[in-house]
């Protein structure tokens, strides 16, 4: 899957285009096949001072659902000059209960306000009986949850009037009730709902190690043609009760070498795709984070023979 790269290289690199708010809705389509980072408040000013350095930014939707104040002020200014991906963490698509209509309405308002190039959520649940549990929790992969997840994604795509990307999870347990593999489950969800895939390569690696599988084989079994964005992140290493490695999706360290290798393999299969460095804990200064994104950007450039001017 190849996404247009010219949207990022021409207008977005010009500071004057940003100041004039030249990036109107008509210019917005897909995320550019470049590297981006998660938007952190401590980096707001650095980002405005260095337009064009990165291909896009990603925000957690829930962090921008306050009524007003500085979060909206900064995001508005940054969004004027950068492509944007909105990443939800609270919709509980994998939940056993109906979606939270109020939260879906908040998402609709947020997306109407910022018109992001991409919207994504997780194959996970986080709310039960009205309690929000502040984590991305695992679900059994069986026929019932497949039907429920598909219904929820249909509802989301209908309510938001757009295609969403679904992110593969990092998990620490499996379920006796599961009747299909995660890759088969995701493949079927993508086929039935038409949603895209947010491929988190770190999650794939973490889950593969945690469940004694081969990460490359897992990736090969996914519907990679549906990938609209890639996530890269760091993990922490723990041990399970048998002393086997138990990797924790911590977002608190640089991307591991094994994950970079898998990422390159994915790019070789599908070509350059917008790639995010996710960092939510022990966040380094902007230059350090941008340098890590630069490593992804270099790999994206190598894959895209027609984008010499971006690589230069």
């Amino acid at each position: 899957m190849t996404l247009p790269i010219e949207t990022s290289s021409s207008s977005l690199r010009s500071e004057s285009a940003c100041r004039g708010g030249a990036l109107g809705p008509a210019a917005r389509g897909h995320l550019p096949a470049r590297a981006g980072v998660g938007l952190k408040p401590q980096h707001f000013q650095d980002i405005l001072d260095s337009p064009g350095e990165l291909g896009f930014f990603e925000v957690h939707a829930e962090n921008y659902m306050g009524a007003g104040g500085p979060m909206h002020h900064w995001l508005t200014r940054i969004r004027e000059c950068h492509p944007l991906s909105v990443h939800g963490v609270g919709l509980s698509i994998g939940g056993q209960e109906p979606l939270d209509a109020a939260h879906l309405a908040r998402l609709r308002i947020l997306l109407a306000r910022y018109e992001p190039e991409a919207f994504s959520e997780h194959l996970a649940w986080s709310t039960h009986a009205g309690a929000y549990l502040a984590d991305l929790l695992p679900l059994a992969y069986d026929g019932r949850s497949l039907r429920r997840v598909c219904e929820h994604i249909d509802e989301v795509q209908m309510a938001l009037g757009r295609r969403m990307l679904l992110e593969n999870p990092a998990t620490y347990v499996e379920f006796a009730d599961s009747t299909m593999s995660e890759a088969d489950f995701i493949t079927e969800v993508v086929r039935r709902t038409g949603c895209g895939l947010l491929l988190d390569v770190n999650n794939a690696y973490v889950s593969a190690v945690n469940h004694g599988c081969d990460a490359a084989a897992f990736l090969a079994a996914l519907p990679l043609e549906a990938v609209g964005e890639i996530h890269l992140a760091g993990f922490a290493v723990d041990r399970d009760a048998a002393g086997e490695p138990l990797l924790i999706d911590s977002h608190g360290s640089p991307v591991a070498d094994a994950v970079w290798t898998l990422y390159e393999e994915v790019l070789q299969r599908i070509g350059p795709v917008a790639t995010l460095i996710e960092r939510d804990h022990d966040v380094p200064d902007f230059a350090t984070l941008a340098a890590e994104a630069g490593r992804a950007e270099a790999l994206l450039c190598r894959m895209a023979a027609s984008t010499a001017e971006v690589c230069a």
């Binding site: 829930e62 962090n63 659902m65 306050g66 009524a67 007003g68 104040g69 500085p70 979060m71 909206h72 002020h73 963490v89 609270g90 919709l91 939940g95 056993q96 209960e97 939270d100 109020a102 939260h103 908040r106 649940w125 986080s126 709310t127 039960h128 009986a129 009205g130 309690a131 929000y132 549990l133 502040a134 984590d135 929790l137 679900l139 059994a140 620490y172 347990v173 499996e174 379920f175 006796a176 009730d177 945690n210 469940h211 004694g212 599988c213 723990d238 041990r239 399970d240 009760a241 048998a242 086997e244 138990l246 924790i248």
Partner: protein, 255 residues
């Protein structure tokens, strides 16, 4: 009980057994694996509370605060994914949390920090500028009936303790040792630009601003505040206007 109900119950309470039906590829006890989720939930939510109530945490220390936050989150898990709203019920919990009684001003510090967070995310709206109020001053007879409302990002806290001085001392304003925590203070919280400010109101200013916040008339608010003999209406009104604590007049505001 559905699978997720059992999972959620065990997440929040370490005394509830790990839910049935969890497996691991190597056949080992899933307890350690399930503990990752338990730890994620507790760490995330205690982290939200610690970030929302930093001075409250400093007043009792990290260990005490975390233990208190864990009791809170088990009894009051968030009701929405908007975690910046999660602290709403925390001050009331602190007020009745028995082990915290040794720090009598702790709950008011939590109230002040909650108002700061609420102010940070409050709606953007125009403030009442000095120019807007000048024509009103030309008609003194109408002034007592005027209804002035606080700006959405402004709030007032009347405390029996020195919350503003204590808060300031934890932010490099004044020496903590010189604060008498039992001196009553009223705080005005506001967000003039992008940052939230905390100001100490003059005598009677807390009653006055709270009355305006309750949408009483200017006359009623001034009368209530006059319970404090040193209340000065002009001084308080000027302060609120100067700091942008009042919302713009609605067309019906003048009667």
């Amino acid at each position: 009980m559905t699978a997720h109900a059992a999972f959620a119950a065990a997440l929040l309470d370490p005394d509830v057994a790990v839910p049935a039906g969890l497996t691991a590829w190597n056949g080992v006890d899933p307890m350690r694996r399930f503990a990752v989720y338990r730890n994620n939930v507790t760490t995330a939510l205690t982290g939200v509370l610690a970030d929302s109530f930093p001075v409250t945490q400093q007043l009792v220390g990290e260990d005490f605060f975390c233990a208190m936050a864990r009791v809170f989150l088990r009894a009051h898990p968030p009701r929405s994914p908007l975690l910046h709203e999660y602290g709403h019920d925390f001050p009331a919990f602190v007020a009745q949390f028995e082990p915290a009684r040794q720090v009598p001003y702790l709950a008011d510090m939590a109230r002040l920090e909650w108002l700061r967070l609420a102010s940070l995310h409050a709606a953007d709206a125009p403030v009442l500028a000095a120019d807007d109020i000048a024509p009103l001053l030309a008609d003194p007879a109408a002034l007592p009936g005027l209804r002035l409302a606080l700006h959405p990002a402004a709030a007032v806290l009347q405390s029996a303790h020195a919350v503003v001085s204590l808060w300031g001392a934890h932010h490099g304003v004044g020496a903590l040792a010189e604060v008498d925590p039992y001196a009553a203070e009223s705080a005005l919280v506001l967000r003039p630009m992008l940052e939230v400010l905390v100001l100490r109101l003059p005598p009677g200013g807390g009653i006055f601003a709270a009355a305006l916040a309750a949408e009483t008339t200017l006359g009623e608010a001034a009368a209530a505040a006059s319970a404090d003999p040193s209340f000065d209406l002009a001084e308080n009104l000027a302060l609120l206007i100067r700091h942008g604590a009042l919302g713009a007049l609605r067309s019906s505001a003048r009667n």
